[in-house]
């Protein structure tokens, strides 16, 4: 297990879109290995290229109007189901859906 170079708490490894990143459990800082920043940048540009062209976006069956959320809600990502959420749902969220 890695130690945070800043606050010396334990760091935990997460996998984001195939890129391993370490996050500190104390200060929440993030450590990237050599090449990981480039991998993330590449993924981001792929995402941007995949985005629909500006004129007349097609009516997708999963496109919903923005749902009202409370002031304390997580920052909303203007993405369809799957991308941002699929990652979490494969992990502990499936369990959370079924527990008191």
């Amino acid at each position: 297990m890695m130690q945070c170079p800043k606050c010396h708490a334990q760091m935990q490894t997460y996998n984001r879109n195939g890129v391993q990143i370490e996050q500190c459990g104390g200060c929440r800082g993030i450590f990237l290995d050599y090449g990981e920043l480039e991998s993330l940048t590449r993924l981001e540009s792929q995402w941007t290229q995949q985005a629909p062209p500006a004129p007349a976006p097609p009516v997708a069956p999963q496109a919903y109007p923005a749902a009202p959320a409370p002031a304390w809600g997580a920052p909303q990502h203007p993405q369809h189901q799957g991308g941002h959420y699929g990652h979490h749902r494969q992990k502990g969220f499936g369990r959370m859906l079924f527990s008191s």
């Binding site: 304390w72 809600g73 997580a74 959420y85 079924f98």
Partner: protein, 328 residues
């Protein structure tokens, strides 16, 4: 372990209820569906036996079982089977059977939601069942819905598991920002109270009966009673607000509830004036249990649990004037 004895006794009770004792049988072996201090559940063929928590309020359980059996809620709540015959003979009381001091009830088996496929979960059916429950006039005297009590218990568990831990501060701060009624420290405001509520809605509380293709029904009335109907929408609302439940699924659930004329939220527009307090309470409850469970398992909160804890930090940092209902 007493829990093994309870599980064995439940299996026997379920089996005896399935057919006469003398009959030969090819029943499937007992299947443990849950084995927790607050509920052990064992299936034997078409029958499920449940041992409730040892500290269960007997008269309250009787009222809740009557609620599940009430004809007005046929097609909404799974009705119980007649009380099992045997049990602990040393325990007095005419109607209720006990196993090791825990009241036991019998239920028909229903097919649960597939945990490996949450995308196929019956969100609309759940919403319509809740709307029907909330819209039904209480058939008789009932105890309060236990939602706020469960939230308070979760916070107490967290405090016991991680006393004084600074990491739990945002959860406690979010908790103390809630109005007293939502912390189980005061009566529910009159304009919110009086609805029939399930009290502990999640995807494990739905089964198809008869299995496997019957209609969806709500199960587990242990926390049901009278209270704020918005509490039953608040767990999905909290998951959505934390960024865990996709907006599309949240809207399917909310819109199905509104289409079925559920009374917990206004019919259109922003539902958060009604949802805010219960969803904050469920966020605290989930985060507190995440701390309690991860500590018991000797690990850190996982990524999903951390998102609920992070939501508590945002709640705690909220300027009081943005809260819909002030703490009291």
């Amino acid at each position: 372990m007493t829990t093994t004895a309870v599980v064995r006794a439940l299996g026997d009770l379920a089996h005896e209820s399935a057919h006469p004792r003398a009959a030969s049988c090819d029943c499937a072996p007992a299947q443990v569906l849950a084995d927790r201090a607050d509920g052990a559940v064992v299936r034997r063929g078409r029958i499920v036996a449940k041992a409730h928590a040892p500290d269960t309020d007997g008269p309250a359980l009787t009222s809740r079982l009557a609620l599940a059996a009430t004809p007005a809620l046929a097609g909404v709540l799974l009705p119980p089977l007649p009380a099992p015959r045997s049990g602990d003979p040393s325990r007095p009381g005419p109607a209720q059977t006990y196993v090791q001091g825990r009241p036991v009830t019998l239920w028909p088996h229903g097919a649960p939601v597939d945990p490996s496929d949450p995308d196929a979960a019956p969100w609309e059916a759940a919403a319509v069942l809740l709307a029907r429950l909330h819209g039904t006039a209480p058939p008789g005297p009932l105890p309060p819905m236990r939602g706020p009590a469960k939230a308070a218990l979760a916070v107490a568990r967290m405090r016991a598991a991680r006393p004084g831990d600074p990491a739990t501060r945002p959860v406690l701060a979010a908790w103390h920002g809630l109005p007293a009624w939502a912390r189980d420290e005061g009566p529910t405001p009159a304009h919110r109270a009086g609805f029939l509520c399930h009290g502990d809605l999640h995807l494990g509380q739905l089964v198809r009966h008869p299995a496997p293709h019957g209609p969806w029904l709500l199960i587990d009335v242990d926390d049901s009673g009278l209270g704020d109907a918005a509490w039953d929408l608040a767990r999905p609302a909290a998951w959505y607000a934390a960024g865990l439940l996709p907006p599309g699924i949240w809207l399917r659930f909310l819109n199905a509830y509104r289409s079925a004329r559920g009374p917990a939220v206004r019919g259109g527009g922003d539902p958060w004036p009604e949802l805010d307090v219960p969803a904050r309470a469920l966020t605290v409850q989930t985060a507190a249990l995440a701390f309690a469970k991860s500590t018991a398992e000797g690990r850190r909160p996982d990524e999903v649990e951390q998102m609920m804890i992070d939501a508590c930090a945002r709640i705690a940092s909220l300027p009081p004037e943005l809260a819909v209902e002030r703490p009291s």
